[in-house]
């Protein structure tokens, strides 16, 4: 059961977190950072958050399903990939919404949707083109940055909305993002399991 899954994770991580307060917590800034990090990590592990996310996810998926039902089902592959992308975007949006706008990546996810809606495909094509050209330029012009900085840049690209964020903030965002992603994965797993358990039976019955 998923709920049995969550407490175990919570316990192990909390026990490891309990070690931290022993280390001196001295400067206010560091205390802040630590508190924020611990809070953010705990936030994504609470059952309440998971329930909220699960609920919203299910509702969003239902809406997606209703929307997609109107489209024709010609090619299954295309449909599946398109639907998958949509589901993923929906899930990400729901995740970002449950973050309540406290983190940068959540705001970026929500904002990107608005941006995409307004500008549709043209902007997307333009931006991808720009990205490619920019990438080429940077590689040819600049000497390779030190390994750590390169990796930080990659990490910044992975976390949505954190390309030009300072290093400590980037690490904070990454921490929160990883915790949120883990929760998302768990919820989607559980949901998928529920549905796959149900699906074979329906196919069997021939609906």
């Amino acid at each position: 059961m998923v709920e049995s899954l969550f407490p175990s994770i919570e316990n192990t991580s909390e026990s490891s977190r309990r070690k931290k307060p022993r280390i001196s917590e001295t400067a206010e800034a560091e205390i802040e950072a630590r508190r924020v990090n611990e809070e953010s990590l705990k936030r994504w592990k609470t059952n309440r958050v998971q329930q909220i996310y699960a609920c919203k996810l299910v509702e969003a998926l239902r809406r997606v399903r209703q929307r997609s039902s109107t489209t024709s089902n010609n090619e299954t592959d295309k449909l599946v990939s398109g639907a998958a992308r949509e589901i993923r975007d929906t899930a990400d949006r729901v995740l970002a919404a449950s973050a309540r706008g406290t983190t940068r990546w959540s705001r970026a996810i929500l904002a990107s949707r608005v941006r995409a809606k307004l500008k549709k495909h043209r902007k997307a094509k333009k931006s991808t083109g720009n990205c490619k050209s920019r990438k080429g330029l940077t590689e040819t012009n600049r000497i390779k940055l030190p390994a750590v900085e390169r990796k930080l840049k990659i990490l910044g690209r992975l976390v949505p909305g954190c390309r030009k964020v300072s290093v400590p903030n980037l690490l904070d965002e990454a921490t929160d993002y990883i915790a949120a992603l883990e929760m998302q994965v768990r919820a989607m797993e559980a949901l998928a399991e529920l549905l796959t358990a149900a699906a074979p039976r329906t196919t069997l019955t021939g609906t």
């Binding site: 998923v2 309440r48 329930q51 992603l181 529920l194 609906t207």
Partner: protein, 374 residues
Amino acid sequence: MVFVINIVSSSTLTFTLFLSHSLSLQAICFLKKKKKKITMNEGAIGGDLLLNYTDMSVLERQRAHLKYLNPSFDSPLAGFFADSSMINGGEMDGYLATAGLNLPMIYGETTVEGDPRMSIPLETTLGTGNFRKRKFDTVTKDCNEKKKKMNREEVTEGEEEEKSKITELNNGSPKSIKKMKNKAKKEENNCSNDSSKVTKELEKTDYIHVRARRGQATDSHSIAERVRREKISERMKFLQDLVPGCDKFTGKAGMLDEIINYVQSLQRQIEFLSMKLAVVNPRPDFDMDDIFAKEVVSTPMTVVPSPEMVHSGYSHEMVNSGYSNEMVNSGYVHFNPMQQVDTSSDPLSCFNNNGQAPSMWDSDVQNLYGSLGV
């Protein structure tokens, strides 16, 4: 010889020793040493005695210097002597009262200090700069390092160095960070007097203030840089706890690699799961209500804990776009759907017939909560 004096007759000894200044001093030292049998070794007594004796004149100089540096600060040596007398007080009640020595100020001062601090001056034969060094160099960045340094610092370090440190801090660099360390009793005792004065001055500004550690540059730039590095390393520690398998790596680069891989694998998992959901996703006329209701109630879902799952997904990298349901069930998720098939055969019949309105959806969503989060 002083050594011959027996502690049993200590009280009488004190009286006799009051007669002469030098003798009394030696007695004090000797008596203190007797009290501190545990911390002292006999061989050092003689040297300490002599040292303490010679220290007395130096002591006064030091005390005067200390008072110059920190008027509110009580001489550690005075405190030391006082404490030793306090420690000795259990056995010699009238010691302090009968102290008709020419060092009234010393015995008048009673600072509460722990045993380790007391024993250190006795143990170290270097004498002069040690006490003050310990007193002043207390507020540092890292607690553990500080403790180690406290133990090491007894050896050298002259007054001038401390003075320069303090003045440097007092002059104030715009980016210094303050850290109060109250871990050890030692530190508290030391902090209470000298650092209070320093910190009061520094607290007025809005800046965060640090004190440079021993052996490190006191340049404002390097201090700021050190702070920045520590911030980053602290966050990396959090990430290390979060990402499984990150503890093998000690360097930033390796850990970052792991973190990046982990984030990518999580994102791939999500894509895969969304694909799965898309495949499994029934059409709107499909009745989800009963599924949820029955599923939740009857079947124990054996979902593998996420870290394991992530590990398996991470190591195998199995996300392919062409997964069918069977492959999904067998390969990726380690649960047993067969179990569920058996128990929920009844609801199966339900959903063929009815096309219930989604009004029951909410209740089943609640059931989903139950499955996910109860």
